[in-house]
Amino acid sequence: MMDFQTLFEQNIEIITIAVYGTAIALIVIGLYAVLMKKHLVKIVIGLSIMDAGIHLLFVAVGYISGGTAPIFSPGSENAATTMVDPVPQALVLTAIVIGFAVTALALSLVIRLYKHHHTANIDQLNSLKW
């Protein structure tokens, strides 16, 4: 049985393309939704997708070939050298929570807007301009 590290190193290009490709795709899709979709909820979803892509990037760049989770479980007390970078994961945790907060607030604003306008089309929300 081939161990994971060698497998990883053999297919590093595919993995890179897959992971980064997914992340970039998420960012781009989110951006597209924000810029093109007319429905407010879809725009909020777009923002979330974009955030998700960025969070994925964070986790991805923290990965170290052959690394394990940065947890010193019994038996691996001295495995620090083979652990992945813990910092991006911690940052992502914070970023996710913040993203959640923003999304929640956005949805509440969407509800409020829908109550007033009876529509969720962003093109019709332009009473403030110039």
Binding site: I27, I98, R112
Partner: protein, 495 residues
């Protein structure tokens, strides 16, 4: 040291968490407690300013880990100056709004108070933190509070403005995260001083891409054109004390973040020119847009953006004198624009009409408020002998030092535009035929008068005798530009 910088954040946080409980004990707690906290922040500021005057800058370690390992809070003359300014203005705005909140039509007062207080605390956090990701967190604290406060009146337009702000704010946080990500992969640290130290080793390409993301993200916070579409809406729809806070506190924090990142973290050429050009474009377009506004608060909002543009120009010039001028202008802008928003909101409050045309002859009803508004207008145009003049004068001198003659002419032409629309408003207040002779229904309460008079007093006193404040600003400018000292002081423990 009895008082440490972390008190800036901890005191408001305790209050914020405790207010829901305290309101159950006493129903006015939600209104009074933030005042106490914000006043405490002023006390902290003076204490810290005193301390750094004697002992040099403070770099407080949090959780017992020295920088760069842990998060640190830095109070240099520069950040201390801004934090002092922000906390004093925060307190004055609270004082102004103390009775104002009785009239809130929207949600409960406690929500308003918590959000408002945390917005100010978050702004101080942005200013004093020494860690880039921590700055991101504070930007989000400010952002979330600001989005909510914009929509606080729950009106149709308020929610719309809030949503726009949130949408663009969401972009800002996304791009900021991308920037932080790139910087982290290249330097392996999040401490701004250490990032600055390692920046020369970062490949040029990565550096510039990260910088672009930072510039866009923080440009949104600093209301730079064309990233500022949200700003006029948010300013005009938020409750008035919040509008004042946006102008006086949040935009200051936004500009600070931009300047800190650009000046301290990065060592890229061309940023100065970029700031100058974008600042000028921002100023020009904002003032152009302001001239034909019909809504008073919206006009003030565009004017604020214009002032931020001038601040950015001045930072872009980059010399010591220019930074001095920029900081002076920042101070003036905060003070004057809060005064204008405060006075302006009493007009709106009385006429129940946000349009400028509703102000005809209002000085008969509200003489003192009208006087303050006129004073603020004169000061923001840069009419001597009010404080606005000196900042503009120093900015012009610094521009002349670098031989930017067209920049000077441009700034002054834009000032003429500014003068035109402020004059129109003041003209309406004082010289237009009033519609009816009813007495004012809402005269300013004593606390609002105290708040406004203290700002007006500042404008006049600093205008006549600017030497009172200039040494502090000079220290601040020196501290901002002395990058090596900043890095060394913070990382001294490690080496």
């Amino acid at each position: 040291m009895v008082i440490t910088p972390v008190h800036y954040i901890v005191a408001p946080l305790i209050a914020a968490f405790a207010i829901p409980l305290l309101t159950k004990i006493h129903k006015d707690a939600a209104r009074i407690v933030p005042g106490i906290v914000l006043f405490y922040n002023v006390v902290i500021s003076f204490f810290l300013m005193n301390h750094i005057a004697e002992h040099g800058m403070i770099s407080e370690t949090l959780a017992g880990w020295e920088a760069p390992w842990g998060i640190n809070l830095v109070v240099t003359p520069f950040t201390g100056f801004l934090a002092t300014m922000v906390s004093i203005l925060g307190f004055i705005i609270w004082l102004y709004g103390y009775r104002f909140k009785r009239t809130l039509k929207g949600g409960e007062v406690k929500f308003y108070e918590i959000l408002q207080m945390m917005m100010i605390a978050g702004s101080i956090g942005i200013i004093i933190t020494g860690d880039i990701f921590n700055m991101f967190v504070f930007i989000e604290i400010v952002g979330i509070s600001a989005f909510s406060l914009t929509a606080f009146y729950r009106s149709r337009d308020g929610a719309e403005a809030g949503f726009k702000y949130l949408l663009i704010g969401g972009f800002a946080s996304a791009f900021l995260l991308l920037g932080i990500l790139i910087i982290y992969t290249q330097t392996g640290t999040l401490n701004m001083a250490q990032i600055a130290e390692r920046m020369p080793e970062v490949p040029q390409q990565m550096k510039i891409i990260a910088l672009v993301f930072f510039l866009v993200a923080l440009g949104i916070e600093a209301e730079m054109f064309p990233l500022n579409g949200w700003a006029p809406d948010a300013y005009s729809q938020a409750p008035s004390p919040t509008s004042a806070t946006f102008a006086a506190v949040v935009s200051v924090a936004g500009v600070y973040a931009l300047i800190r990142v650009v000046f301290t973290m990065f060592d890229v050429e061309g940023v100065n020119n970029y700031l100058m050009v974008m600042g000028f474009v921002t100023m020009l377009i904002a003032e152009i847009a302001a001239i034909s506004q019909k809504n008073l608060k919206r006009m003030l909002a565009y004017s604020s953006i214009g002032q931020v543009g001038l601040i950015l120009i001045s930072f872009g010039i980059g010399s010591n004198l220019a930074v001095f001028g920029a900081l002076f202008l920042m101070l003036n802008h905060s003070v004057i624009k809060s005064l204008l928003f405060m006075a302006g909101s009493y007009f709106i409050y009385n006429t129940d009409d946000k349009r400028i045309t509703a102000l005809n002859g209002i000085h008969k009803k509200l003489p003192i408020v009208s006087f303050f508004f006129a004073l603020g207008s004169l000061a923001i145009i840069g009419f001597p002998p009010f404080s606005g003049f000196w900042s503009k004068f120093y900015i012009l001198i610094s521009a002349a030092n670098e031989k930017y003659i067209f920049l000077i002419i441009g700034i002054l032409l834009v000032t003429i535009i500014e003068l035109t629309y402020y004059l129109r408003v003041v003209g309406r207040i004082y010289f237009a035929k009033e519609e009816e002779g009813e007495p004012a229904s809402h005269r300013p309460s004593i606390n609002a008068l105290v708040a406004m008079s203290s700002l007006a007093l500042f404008i006049i006193v600093i205008g006549v005798y600017p030497d009172l404040i200039m040494p502090h600003i000079q220290n601040a400018a020196d501290a901002l530009l002395d990058k090596t000292n900043y890095i060394q002081q913070i990382l001294s423990v490690k080496n």
